[in-house]
């Protein structure tokens, strides 16, 4: 059976045939009651709005990886000039590795956000633990920034999962 411009789905505007009970592109109940149709459109709209919110959360978490790189970069300058001369070279090398790692995670987060955020979060937590063991007083230095970064990254990972789930439910790539 041919489809015409008169047979467009009310939800996704894709053509359908008159024998279809549901739209084969979005699952809209073509033969359903008004309540069923309204409910489908409302649910789809809610999910689309949620998806936009989740994407914002993912972007913030991705940006926090650059923030960490920047923060370590700045502290490197301070540490370099205050550390003992014999430790300067080793500290510089290690901090350069860390800045590079977080910048790398930041770049990776655009294409593989889950991988980048799990790696970034793990490395960040380990750095804080090692700092804590070396000097317990450091736990309170910039505590709000540290807690904020960890929360952002955990929320980011969860948001990626939620966003992927909604994309699958809406059947969009």
């Amino acid at each position: 059976m041919e489809s015409s411009n008169d047979s467009l789905c009310n939800s996704c505007y894709k053509p359908f045939t008159l024998t279809d009970t549901f739209c084969n592109n979005c699952g809209f109940p073509l033969q359903g009651t008004k309540e069923e149709k309204d409910s489908h459109i409302a649910n789809r709209t809610i999910k689309e709005v949620d998806l936009i919110e989740l994407q914002r959360s993912v972007d913030s978490a991705c940006n926090s990886l650059y923030w960490i790189a920047g923060f370590i970069g700045l502290s490197t300058i301070f540490i370099f000039f205050t550390a003992a001369a014999e430790d300067q070279f080793a500290l510089l090398i290690m901090n350069v590795i860390l800045v590079g790692a977080f910048l790398g995670f930041g770049v990776l987060s655009r294409s593989k956000p889950t991988t980048a955020m799990i790696s970034g979060l793990s490395l960040y937590v380990i750095i804080q633990i090692l700092n804590l063991i070396a000097d317990p007083a450091t736990i309170f230095k910039g505590i709000i920034f540290k807690v904020g970064i960890i929360i952002y990254l955990i929320k980011g990972i969860k948001s990626v999962m939620e966003a992927d789930k909604i994309k699958k439910e809406l059947n969009i790539e």
Partner: protein, 257 residues
């Protein structure tokens, strides 16, 4: 009576024909990626389990850093705890992990080739790391120091540094962790994440030059061969070579020739 498999173009809910490319069944409205949606719902709990595994690993490693006077007893206690943790996580997910304990397509030539390459890589890495430690930290790191006072120190060193990590770290990282991550991300990402976590847990930033590539190789090997065993052998010979060079440094070996 045996059940007939449902062809791909039949809806798994109402058995109506669904032309390939249609996202929903036009008869019952069932999403044709229904199985993917079910998998998506399990991703977050799986990530939480990976998080729990990593926290346990961190706790064990931090405990080893906090103990001031290391002895063989404390070392073996921590080894036992981490070994139990690896076994617990691996066997908790037994249905999905059991397949990687098999050794499909076993090849003695491949295994021997890998072992030779591993020994050569370990000699190179040991040589470079020794020089890097002297250059950056002005010190020589020897594994044998902790074991030399014991009557069976040499055997214990090989047991603790070569055999134990080869079995339990492979079981934990290339076994449990990669398998669990495969239900969350794709193969490349699973290898990458497991390698980063493996590198991080060693608490040695400077070893990024060899530990991360080594972990990536082990992860790749695990995915490519679909078995844990090549990795176990590679890991064992890598660490065993480092232990051997600790007992017989390269400079002394060169003098013999």
């Amino acid at each position: 009576m045996e059940e007939q498999p449902i062809p791909e173009n039949l809806c798994d809910n109402c058995q109506s024909e669904v032309p390939l490319g249609n996202k929903f069944c036009s008869t019952c409205g069932r999403a044709q990626n229904y199985k993917d949606i079910v998998i998506q719902h399990k991703r977050w709990p799986n990530i939480q389990q990976v998080g729990l595994f990593f926290v346990v690993e961190i706790c064990c490693c931090v405990a080893s850093l906090l103990i001031k006077d290391h002895s063989l007893t404390t070392l073996f206690c921590l080894d036992v705890i981490m070994g139990c943790s690896a076994l617990l996580f691996f066997f908790y997910n037994w249905p999905e992990n059991k397949a990687i304990l098999k050794w499909p397509g076993f090849s003695i030539a491949k295994l021997l080739g890998l072992i030779v390459l591993t020994i050569l890589a370990s000699v190179t890495v040991t040589f470079l790391v020794d020089h890097l430690n002297v250059l950056l930290f002005k010190k020589e790191v020897r594994h044998y120091t902790l074991f030399e006072f014991h009557r069976y120190g040499t055997y214990l060193m090989f047991l603790s540094i070569a055999l134990y990590p080869a079995i339990f770290e492979e079981l934990a990282y290339r076994g449990y962790l990669i398998q669990k991550l495969l239900s969350v991300v794709d193969e490349k990402e699973a290898v990458y994440i497991s390698s980063v976590l493996f590198f991080i847990i060693h608490f040695s930033l400077i070893s990024i030059f060899w530990l991360l590539p080594f972990a990536l190789f082990l992860g790749w090997l695990r995915i490519k061969t679909k078995t844990l065993w090549y990795g176990v052998f590679v890991h064992f010979f890598f660490n065993a070579t480092a232990c051997f060079l600790d007992l017989y440094p390269l400079e002394e070996l060169f003098k013999l020739f």
